[in-house]
Symmetry: C2
DNA sequence: TGTACATCAGTGAACGCGCGTTCACTGATGTAC
DNA sequence: TGTACATCAGTGAACGCGCGTTCACTGATGTAC
């Protein structure tokens, strides 16, 4: 019916978003150029505007896509931590060396957080939605949030802030012994936090 | 003796570093251009290379300068928290609305952390030194790090990660109620962390 | 006292390059008759 | 069966702009004689 197989356009669209999502986490907002993304997909830059009205639309879609997987990851971590009865396990996995190294496919919150305040509203909204979903999955780990009496959404923001702050820090410092210290302390802190919340007052 | 008063060159140099240090935190590494910095100082871009061999040298100096004040801030916060006997006080101050708003003169660790992995080695070293000094001052707050038996440096990395992660997150999300939730949870978490460390086992 | 020259922080035009965006075009296919 | 035309994802030259960096120059002052 047309030159390209049915769904070809959609496939290309998805490939652009996927490439943008990886490049964004690795190179940041400014250095993720339209031309670089299109090149990664195997196309030329001119074709871009058949898929998006402008760069911001692509970046917004890329942030959405990056947060597609993230909450699932945290859901799995929370579940395993509960099975083990150790919240520190979440930090152990989340801050593992291979997670520190793989930025392009890693946690978007850690990769993007300090650049977000200067992005367009649409991008911030996409980030907020994704971060919130992530915080909600993390809240399913026992002891990371105090129960709200009003039944409002449980979101483990403090634990998320510590984890993503630590991952970002570990990527930022070149000294591996400091990285190790950060990881150890965060595992320990997360464990303490969970125990302190599990037992709201001094035990009898 | 010369056209310019003695020390004029040094004053200009310091002004460039100060402007760069503020712009860097606000706009990030890519968008802090040589021309913008020089304009902020009231000069033209051509004169820049009489002060620095290249942009990286300026950025390195700017990171150093940004971390000049940061540890002092944390030292003051730790001291006050100890006086109050409440580690949560640190988060209360550090995450106050006016700190969230003032990025250019705020915590460089929070402002720069997720961009650092793609910066030159010299810049990462400057960041690492500054972050370490900050973590050391934060460790002076009671209960934020477990005593090391070998007497090694005490650095409160977990607390620092949580604080800077939270500050960055609060700047990233547009919804003020989420911001408020993050702050409340982090204050609470820091308090719990300090209490858990103060009392290493279940109290008698 | 007056003229020629040295000093040097800062100026502004110019360089090659990559950016986001536009647009006339390509070329493989399907459809009409 | 064969020719003319429509479709449309992708191409690549071009636009104006800002980037980091270079460099011949400026112009106010001090020094030499």
């Amino acid at each position: 019916m047309v030159r390209y197989k049915t769904g070809h356009r959609d496939k290309t669209h998805a490939a652009i978003v996927a490439a943008a999502s990886a490049l964004l986490r690795d190179k940041g907002f400014s250095e993720t150029s339209v031309a670089t993304v299109m090149k990664a997909v195997g196309l030329t830059h001119g074709g871009f505007y058949a898929h998006f009205p402008d760069k911001t639309a692509m970046i917004t879609a890329a942030v959405d896509e990056a947060f597609e997987e993230s909450p699932k990851n945290f859901a799995a971590l929370s579940k395993m931590a509960n099975a083990k009865g150790d919240a520190g396990f979440i930090a152990e996995k989340y801050l593992a060396d291979e997670r520190v190294a793989r930025i392009a496919t890693g946690c978007p919150a850690a990769a993007l957080v300090s650049e977000l305040h200067r992005q367009p509203e649409a991008v911030q909204q996409a980030f907020q939605t994704g971060a919130r979903a992530t915080a909600r999955e993390l809240a399913k780990a026992d002891g990371l949030v105090t129960d709200e009496p009003d039944g409002s959404d449980r979101e483990a923001w403090a634990a998320l802030a510590m984890l993503m702050g630590a991952l970002s820090l570990m990527r930022a410092v070149p000294d591996p012994t400091i990285r190790e210290t950060i990881r150890t302390q965060v595992i320990d802190a997360l464990r303490k936090l969970a125990l302190a919340t599990d037992a709201p007052g001094p035990s009898p």
